[in-house]
């Protein structure tokens, strides 16, 4: 998960400094506590109300650099240092496209090479070094890897879903635990009162030694609170197991099926990979002189492919049994 996404998910508060000032209206945080300072894509800041004023009517130039901006492009600053902010955003953008995982590579070395390439592009963008080239590389990579990018994006979405779900479950579990704990406390309290009451009654009505009666009741008290505790724990485990099961068999399965590698052209055979060399001179063939063949889809290209495939099929196949070939006199 990208830094930014997790930052937002974990609700890290936006960066605020006491000396923040809106460069437009000069409003100061010191005087205006709830002021929200936003950052545009050009990394120039403005407070929320200035952004509204300037961009509500549509795209307008940034007052500092005059780049045309839209309201939707402004976001809350998270990091104090804007260069860090910038880096995080560039990395986020790069990660959207270059999202291959180690499992996409046969060898670790290939994966490392890939990571190095990605870092190279990232650094170019970060240090404004030959950004055109970097943009070109990104675009070319995107075009060449559309399928895998999409697949990994949905994998990422799936991972995030799982994390979110795990997080929610954890929260839920904690909440339940809390409630359970409170309930147990209340139960124990009630039990204590009950026992106390019955103790009083027993003491009042029994002929037994008061000491023995108290001892017996105390044992009873311990037992009952222990049993409630273990019972609730069992129930909780069960609930979690059911939750996990349900989650596995539904969403994940379908997602998995939609993301599994899939090639509509799959075949048990090696594809025939023969490039026709040039236009062949085919003087012996009179068939194409009349126009009828082409109209029926019979083209020279098709005919020549048929012939060349015939010429190259099995051309380098060894005859059976090397020994016989190597020493013909052996037979």
């Amino acid at each position: 998960m990208s830094v930014l996404a997790s930052a937002i998910k974990q609700e890290i508060p936006a960066f605020q400094a006491d000396d923040d000032t809106c460069p437009q209206c000069k409003s100061e945080r010191y005087l205006n506590r709830p002021m929200k300072l936003l950052v545009g894509p050009c990394y120039h800041k403005m407070c929320e109300s200035c952004v509204s004023q300037r961009f509500d009517a549509g795209p307008a130039p940034c007052p500092v650099c005059e780049r045309i901006l839209r309201k939707a492009e402004f976001y809350q600053q998270i990091f104090e240092d804007l260069t860090v902010e910038n880096e995080v955003r560039i990395r986020k953008r790069i990660a959207m496209t270059f999202n291959k995982r180690q499992e996409d590579f046969k060898q670790l070395k290939d994966y490392n090479d890939y990571l190095e390439m990605v870092e190279d592009i990232t650094l170019r963008l970060l240090y404004d070094d030959d950004t055109d080239e970097a943009e070109y590389m990104i675009e070319r990579y995107r075009r060449e890897n559309t399928a895998i990018i999409e697949r990994n994006q949905s994998k990422l979405r799936r991972d995030e879903t799982i994390q979110r779900l795990a997080f929610d479950q954890e929260q839920q579990r904690k909440q339940q635990q809390r409630e359970e704990h409170l309930r147990q406390l209340a139960d124990e309290e009630r039990e204590k009162t009950d026992i106390k009451n019955s103790l009083i009654t027993a003491l009042a009505t029994s002929n037994m030694d008061a000491k023995d009666i108290v001892k017996a009741k105390m044992v009873q008290l311990k037992k009952s609170s222990l049993s409630t505790r273990s019972m609730t724990r069992n129930a909780r485990f069960k609930a979690e197991a059911i939750l996990a099961d349900e989650y596995d068999s539904n969403e994940l399965d379908e997602d998995e099926a939609n993301n599994a590698p899939f090639d509509p052209s799959e075949s048990p055979y090696e594809p025939v990979d023969i490039k026709l060399l040039d236009k062949y001179d085919d003087p012996k063939n009179t068939a194409f002189r009349q126009g009828g063949l082409a109209a029926a889809g019979v083209t020279r290209e098709m005919h020549q492919r048929y012939l060349i495939e015939g010429a190259l099929a099995g051309l380098f196949v060894n005859p059976l049994d090397e020994n016989v070939l190597a020493s013909p006199e052996a037979q």
């Binding site: 052209s265 009828g292 019979v298």
Partner: protein, 377 residues
């Protein structure tokens, strides 16, 4: 190794002894189909016994073509010819046993097709066809009932009685091939040499039929077939199909406008209609190939094709729904039970006419296993 049979006759006898015939599944003019099994492995097989009683010139061309083609093809979406043996003067093809066919599935109106189901069938069909074309083999009789369906849902191209090689432009071929409704326009115009694009046209018709649940271009006669096509697809201009008039039967046809295809195929995605149009392109040179069709976005994009085992399948199968160990009668009664129970379930949804039609379809399916054809070309 010394005990291994050398003589043709001995090998043939050995092959025959591997299989046991059980019961007749169907009979056509050309062949009888039996249910059988491989004795050692108990694998269920269909034994297609080709009759040669009336063949004055010995083995007839469709038997030769079928054996010749199937002996060379090994692909998950092409029916497997497991063995061949002769018995006295009959030729016996031991084929993998397949329960049903695509025509039965299309006609079974109790089945609902999802777009992903159609995509799955089309993908399997095109994979099988692409393999044939890569081997330079034309099927020449594609239609829904020549796509058989295995118990695990795999679709398999069958009936190679009209199959022949292509690629050699000097050899004339007959234009009297392919069942009329699926016959490509260049065949109807009398082309005597053609390519895999005639099979693609038929696939396009089947694609449309899967969406419409009815034949797309049902011409009433060979003569009317072209008119039916032009009415449905618009009469092609000379630009659209250069050289069309140079074909043996090319002449000026009545001009029909091109209709809006998406109106008819409202249930289909834009990509599906686009691929269908590419398969039903008039000019065979521009018609998409099986290999390229599989690369079309229709297949790559969601929804993914349904897994074969999850595809809708009819209640009735060729050999009876249950494992029929005993005699034929017993199997039939099991079948009736299944039908009856289903009938109880949907008492009102079925009327007797529909039921009768379903029964008939079962019989037809049995005959289909014999892949009988009208006449050898």
């Amino acid at each position: 190794m010394a005990s291994k049979a050398i003589l043709g006759e001995e090998i043939n006898k050995e092959t025959e002894s591997l299989y046991k015939k059980e019961k007749k599944l169907g009979e056509g003019t050309y062949a009888v189909v039996y249910l059988g099994h491989h004795i050692k492995t108990n694998r269920k097989v269909a034994i297609k016994k080709i009759k040669l009683g009336n063949m004055r010139s010995g083995l007839d061309m469709s038997a030769i073509r079928e054996v010749k083609a199937l002996r060379e093809l090994r692909h998950p979406n092409v029916i497997e010819l497991i063995d061949v043996f002769s018995h006295k003067t009959s030729l016996n093809l031991v084929l993998e046993f397949l329960d049903t066919d695509l025509e039965i599935v299309i006609k079974d109106k109790s089945l609902v097709f999802m777009p992903a189901d159609i995509k799955s069938w089309m993908m399997m069909a095109l994979r099988g066809l692409d393999h044939c074309h890569k081997c330079w083999l034309l099927h020449r009789d594609l239609k829904p009932n020549n796509f058989l369906i295995a118990a695990n849902g795999q679709l398999k191209l069958a009936d190679f009685g009209l199959a022949r090689e292509f690629g050699d432009v000097k050899r004339a071929m007959t234009s009297q091939t392919v069942t009329r409704w699926y016959r490509a326009p260049e065949l109807l115009l009398g082309a005597t040499n053609y390519t895999g694009s005639i099979d693609i046209w038929a696939m396009g018709c089947i694609f449309a039929e899967l969406s419409l649940r009815a034949p797309y271009l049902p011409g009433a006669s060979d003569l009317e077939q072209l008119t039916t096509i032009f009415r449905a697809r618009g009469t092609p201009s000379e630009d659209e199909w250069p050289g069309m008039m140079k074909l043996p039967m090319g002449y000026s046809f009545e001009k029909f406008p091109k209709p809006q295809f998406s109106d008819l195929f409202r249930g289909s995605s834009e990509e599906a209609v686009d691929l269908m149009n590419k398969m039903l392109t008039f000019n065979p040179t521009n018609r998409i190939s099986a290999a390229d069709a599989l690369k079309h976005p229709y297949f790559a994009n969601l929804p993914r094709p349904t897994a074969p085992e999850k595809l809708p399948r009819p209640l009735k199968s060729l050999a009876g729904g249950e494992e029929g160990e005993g005699g034929g009668d017993e199997v039939v009664s099991v079948d009736d039970d299944v039908v009856a129970s289903k009938k109880r379930l949907f008492q009102d949804a079925f009327d007797d006419g529909l039921e009768a039609e379903r029964q008939k379809m079962g019989e037809q399916a049995a005959k289909r296993m014999d892949f009988s054809i009208s006449s050898p070309a």
